[in-house]
Symmetry: C2
Subunit: 244 residues, 2 copies
DNA sequence: CTCACTGAAAGGTGTTACCAATGGTGGGGA
DNA sequence: TCCCCACCATTGGTAACACCTTTCAGTGAG
């Protein structure tokens, strides 16, 4: 059976267990490795051509994300989605890369709808002067790019603005969602859920949010953000998989 | 300094690295090990009397939570709070156990205020018949216990009701916050932030939420939950550390 | 035929020793 | 003074081993 190193991706800076971790994480979150499926350390060693140490470390990481449990004699068992740590950045990443993509995108969007309005309100209270200035600046730039239909740079600004709002909220739990929101916005564009040209309402609402936050009007900021996200949710509705 | 095994808790089912992980996690989140502080595997081995393997595995775990980074030749460096994975259950647990307790409680409460109203609305749409029935049942029981001033079992029901709502929402991101909400409610009671006898308004609002969800009136459920949480936030205000 | 005991095997847990890679530090030369 | 290079501390990775828990099959008694 020989050694036959698989060498996933020529070890491009990725520290060995990282590649193994990625491979297994993807397979489990994609459902290729169904819940209840059993793994063994020996199996992992053989399959990826790594040492026991590496196999054990990746297994520990998977376990700490709730993707597997490890028990003596019985081995490593794949866990059902309900016990996955869905806020773990890598889990989110894997799910967005796999077949669960639009389900994940939908539940994350619902999370955004919950969090971002309050984050905007908090930002209106807590943001620094520089942050407020940057916000209105961003909204203006977004209008320019949006009206000229340049989707990629528009998305970058969109990400920057929402990230800035979360950061400015001063709540660490909100700040920690920065990457999630960025991933959602990127995924949404990649999935073609954006119109060719951002709708004028969205541009207006971004403006409104920025100005409200800058002016410290937290209620206005909250409702504007709520309307903005309602817009986003409606734009997403077309790909509903369940009842129409 | 010698060997001096620390033996945190006589290995009661905890698999060795778990005790080391807990000890280090607590120290880092508590700030005892300040950001920038350097650790080495040898140091961990010596201090806890464990083998290199165990030291390495715990270090990987800490790294995957963003508490440290590990680089060759440099060693293991404690990271600042900004890079911690604050949705990681163990990180939340450690912070609630340490001096950052009320800061953590406050930011988590703000998260609840964002999420739970939408979760209630979703529950009003998605809950099963059994879940709806259980909700009104719980609200009734809470009223009984609340009016008789039995705080501990009241808290248990409170936790059960909010957990049920999150679960019934059908959104995995909301469901995953079940433990967080439970921890907040428990922490709030332990910290003495609850009045001796739950205020009548709170009891009424729990009732209202339950009935609205049971009836499928998602807007009513959302606003009732919002008012309930406003109540909670106000009860929490007294211990504000910053500007009043 | 069923149930309880027993023993072996499977597979994670923990330890040790060793070599490879890497990047900071300090010394030496221009 | 400044730059380059060699050294070495420290993690990354491999290998081989002892140990302990848990499962499971086989066996014997009732």
């Amino acid at each position: 059976m020989g050694k036959e190193r698989v060498d996933t991706g020529a070890g491009n800076g990725a520290s060995l267990h990282h590649s193994v971790l990625d491979a297994l994480g993807l397979e489990i979150t994609a459902g290729t490795l169904a819940p209840g499926h059993g793994l063994t350390l020996d199996g992992i060693q053989e399959r990826f051509g790594v040492s026991r140490t590496v196999a054990r470390e990746t297994m520990r990481l998977l376990e700490s994300m709730g993707l597997v449990v490890s028990r003596r004699r019985v081995g490593i068992t794949v866990q059902p989605p309900g016990s996955w740590h869905v806020y773990e950045p890598r889990v989110i990443w894997w799910r967005l890369a796999g077949p669960g993509r639009d389900t994940q995108l939908r539940s994350l969007t619902e999370l955004r709808i919950a969090v971002e309005p309050l984050a905007a309100a908090a930002a209106a209270r807590e943001a620094t002067t520089q942050q407020r200035e940057r916000l209105v600046e961003l909204a203006a730039e977004m209008r320019d790019l949006g009206e000229s239909g340049r989707l990629e740079p528009f998305m970058d600004l969109d990400i920057e603005m929402h990230s800035l709002l979360l950061r400015a909220s001063g709540n660490e739990m909100f700040v920690a969602l920065t990457d999630v929101v960025a991933a959602v916005l990127r995924g949404r564009t990649q999935l073609g859920l954006m119109p060719h040209r951002p709708v004028p309402e969205a541009l207006d609402l971004h403006d409104e949010v920025a100005r409200a936050v800058a002016a410290g009007e937290h209620e206005a900021a909250e409702t504007a953000m709520r309307r903005l996200l309602a817009e986003v949710r409606d734009a997403m509705a077309p790909i509903r998989p369940r009842r129409h």
